[in-house]
Symmetry: C2
Subunit: 244 residues, 2 copies
DNA sequence: GCGGCGACTTGATCCAAGTCACTGTCACGC
DNA sequence: GCGTGACAGTGACTTGGATCAAGTCGCCGC
């Protein structure tokens, strides 16, 4: 995932209209004047560095954030001090959707590498969504997707199913963003993966090792190569296949 | 949970304006003319009976549904034929939010008892949401809540934490609806509870028994009496308490 | 190039919850 | 009443993944 120059020169270069994430992000389906109006309220922020927080639990909710470059993890810390990783967020994905209801952030968002975001002040975004049908429906679509994705994750699946689903999910997201779906760098540590999948880090290590032994993948530290995507998909079929 | 008369006489009696769920459901915060416009697009449907499907996986998405009376469970069936219960839905809650993105229903919705719903044709609702700020923000709030709720459920919690959270969650939802927060009837079987919480039905039985022994609750079949709500809340604190 | 530290792997043991098998209980039809 | 079948509870056992305890590897600072 590439990083951006620190300065905000070249307004045009950064505009939604020419952003490579246009079709995944809020501008999807918008054209000319509508796109410009959206562009006007976007505040580009960053670059932030690994370990920087974009927001924290309890912060007043003022804006949604679209990841522009880099990646984020969202997480909470429970009353016993245990961390719970809620998700990883790639460019084009929205952060902060869960904060709309209570008006305060319910989770923390932390940069996993050098990252930039587009801040979308919520009041203004909501007004604009009132006026632009396409924007409103895209916001609803993205929220709907979040609801559906979270529901899938909740099942009682084995360590293998979970990791296979994690890898194929990442693969698909990289593909959509124009990166290789079979070779990529993980932005997150084993500990974060384990926490996200509700496994012990040791279990993640062991399943990675098993997958390598079975010639499904090769892994070298954070570099992953998916050798047999179809078979990986079969492994986690139960997590995604839904029928009547 | 009360049932409604079969006929749809008394349009006024059924109007959003006088609905007891107004403050939980879409009309929240709307007044006079706006409320009437929402009312105009609502199609009251039912009564449906235990075991009836409101929609099924793959059905074209045309409308959101607000539960009016009774209760629903939403579930999927995976490629191996295993059922996965995604949630239980009480009056005032919305069904079908996950279908907006793909335009098709991703889960099945089944009545657990005699139930009625308000159908909200999505195109019209979206148009209206464009024109009424309050409606738009309430839809966003309800979707946001769904995102946050699902995230909480996903953690790696013990059988006790899960069941305690389930019971206190139901308690709170009954309270909001004007029912007793300490004495209620479960609309769902042990099997459904177990499936929802990702436990075996035997485990649910055993934890119910343990809770009874510890004087936290009494259970007789589907009649539950919460004796020590504070202690139940402590049990599942980790599932809900979130801090920086 | 050495020391130290954090990230990861590997192996040995443990335990919460699942599975299996059986029993009890209620509801409904005949 | 008496079967039948769905649902619920209980005990014995099995097991996947957690936990505990050493390692190994790579990297950064000095």
């Amino acid at each position: 995932m590439s990083t951006l120059p620190a300065d905000v020169s070249g307004r045009l270069r950064e505009a939604c209209a020419v952003c490579s994430l246009k079709e995944l992000c809020l501008p999807r389906g918008l054209n000319g004047p509508d796109l410009e109006r959206l562009d006007d309220l976007v505040e580009r922020q960053g670059p932030f560095h690994e370990g920087d927080h974009l927001f924290r639990v309890g912060d007043r909710f003022q804006a949604l954030f679209a990841v522009r470059a880099g990646s984020y993890k969202s997480y909470t810390v429970d009353s016993e001090g245990r961390e719970h990783v809620l998700g990883f967020h790639l460019p084009g994905e929205l952060l902060g959707l869960d904060a709309i209801y209570p008006g305060r952030h319910l989770c923390n968002a932390l940069a996993l590498d050098t990252a930039t975001v587009c801040a979308l002040p919520y009041e203004q975004l909501s007004d604009l969504a009132g006026r632009i049908n396409g924007l409103r429906s895209q916001i609803m679509r993205l929220m709907s997707k979040d609801i559906a994705d979270n529901a899938t994750l909740a099942g009682d699946f084995t360590a293998e199913e979970r990791l296979a689903a994690f890898l194929t999910g990442l693969s698909e997201r990289f593909r959509q963003r124009g990166y290789s779906p079979t070779e990529f760098q993980l932005a997150m540590s084993r500990r974060d993966i384990a926490n996200y999948l509700r496994l012990a880090t040791e279990t993640v290590s062991r399943v990675f090792a098993r997958f390598e032994k079975d010639r499904l993948i090769t892994v070298d530290r954070r570099a992953v190569h998916l050798l047999d995507l179809p078979r990986l998909r079969t492994l986690c079929a139960a997590m995604n296949d839904r029928q009547s």
